[in-house]
Symmetry: C2
Subunit: 338 residues, 2 copies
Amino acid sequence: MRIALDAMGGDYAPAVNVEGAIETVNDLEGIDVILVGDESSIKRELDSKKYLPNRISIKHASQVVGMDESPSVAIRKKKDSSIRRAIELVKNGEADAFVSAGHSGVVMATALLLLGDSIGVDRPAIAAIMPTLKAPFVLIDAGANLYCKPENLLQFALMGSAYCRVIFRRSEPKVALLSIGEEDTKGNELTKEAFKLLKKVDINFTGNIDGKDIFAGIADVIVCDGFTGNIVLKTSEGLADAIVRILKREIVDQSAGRIGYLLMKSALKSFKKKTDYSEYGGAPLLGINGTCIISHGRSTTKAIRNALRVAADLSEKKVHEIIAFEIEKGMVSKVDKK
Amino acid sequence: MRIALDAMGGDYAPAVNVEGAIETVNDLEGIDVILVGDESSIKRELDSKKYLPNRISIKHASQVVGMDESPSVAIRKKKDSSIRRAIELVKNGEADAFVSAGHSGVVMATALLLLGDSIGVDRPAIAAIMPTLKAPFVLIDAGANLYCKPENLLQFALMGSAYCRVIFRRSEPKVALLSIGEEDTKGNELTKEAFKLLKKVDINFTGNIDGKDIFAGIADVIVCDGFTGNIVLKTSEGLADAIVRILKREIVDQSAGRIGYLLMKSALKSFKKKTDYSEYGGAPLLGINGTCIISHGRSTTKAIRNALRVAADLSEKKVHEIIAFEIEKGMVSKVDKK
């Protein structure tokens, strides 16, 4: 299994990318990593570290896409970017999957251009895994599409449902539509129209879900447009982080609490692990004809390592092929089926 | 000071509404409450309780607006609803302010119809107060307007800034625009256009804010459309609640943690208080020519009591008049001023 890693993407690239690759090949059997990006920068990072040299290779790319670039311009002008060169490796069969912590819009557009979409999917979407009181759920779209039509949300629901079945082995995932109230009539034009479409297809659609119930563990898949999904994902990360800080301060502020804090350290640590994005490593871009993992811009070494592990896992399970098959099957309406 | 309270609005009405009114008149000097709604139901709740009878009165209304009704239909067909009758009391000068935990869309449309908008405001907006690592901030719009134009977001920014100055006494509130990245170029068409407008007016606009930074305490006012605002508000509530539950479970799961939990109880309690919506009671609808507080549908007795207190406070401070004045002043562009 060979994974192409965009060595230049993310806030701490290429250092954490190279470290993540080294940890992966040192710790995990069967995953080789191709570091894609500026050869001399990558070599500098590699030189100071111990690793299995035959499991890591470099593919040079002279350009880097900045986080504030427009996807259309980046695609036109940066033909030698690390993102493009890495996706080309997947296209040419030199790599089995691709990971990037770079500009997600450019990653999506380039993947769509070079690898193409899965049959029947108009827009690929990012499927993020989020923790709840009970089991984790799949949030789709977590940020790929800022503008969505009702039909896009329908396809996100089908992809999310198929993905959930494969990765969590849940047989009939409960799919909910994120809106501003749980009543059927609540929502904006987009969610109201999507609601009607979702009722027709053959998935376990449970209706609207309100923001307050996202973390109650009542849905396996939560569907929304990419703008809303990005806000939900990042707000949750920010809040979880703030809460841990506030709690630590509360404890220190209280004299009795100091002893409590020492005793509670492991509980806080275990909680942090559950809400830490880097544990999940990255989110797949579903609907692409290939395995493509988008990692957080703030990715740490651990996040990169986990993203590489997830990429290998999804590629091995042929998730993108299963999703294409399930979408075709899923578009059958409940009425047709009867 | 007389506050008109919609006795029939909210999930636990009229019981908690009546209890909240009783606690208010019993505990606070100078606030009288007019309970608006079905007289016999209200009397039944009042009968079993002790309260100062000359400080609570009843205004009968025969109709109740359901949470799933369309605002336009409710306004046309329910002329004797508790929401409408209560707002009429404000219009006629029989009450100084109005509180409802009912259908927020109907409250907004009725308030706009009967009281009118503040001069220069096209769309009123809900201004919710949210806690952070540092001081709390104002989220506007927290759910009144599902569809917004860039000009609406500009007005929300001006109203939020004025509101923040009045209630928190912050002289130059930092106003940020909620988007999917902090870079100037990130966002959808709505936020990109609003960004340009916000740069021109005479407020302390600090640019885009990403979801992950909402709770970092770097903005005094965060501006967004009402769909996004509702999702942010409710997702945060749901997550804070889930985190407290997860932490309690983590602590109990760990043998050493049990002692830690006892020691930490007060820290958790203090934290819960900080993130508990009912402490803030309700959020004002800004841009209306009058004082109107919208409470959570799940309002408890404490939430209703706090909403009544907030209504009295904002009415006394004549916040809606100050906002009208500040908006007129604020629309002056930075260019004009030079």
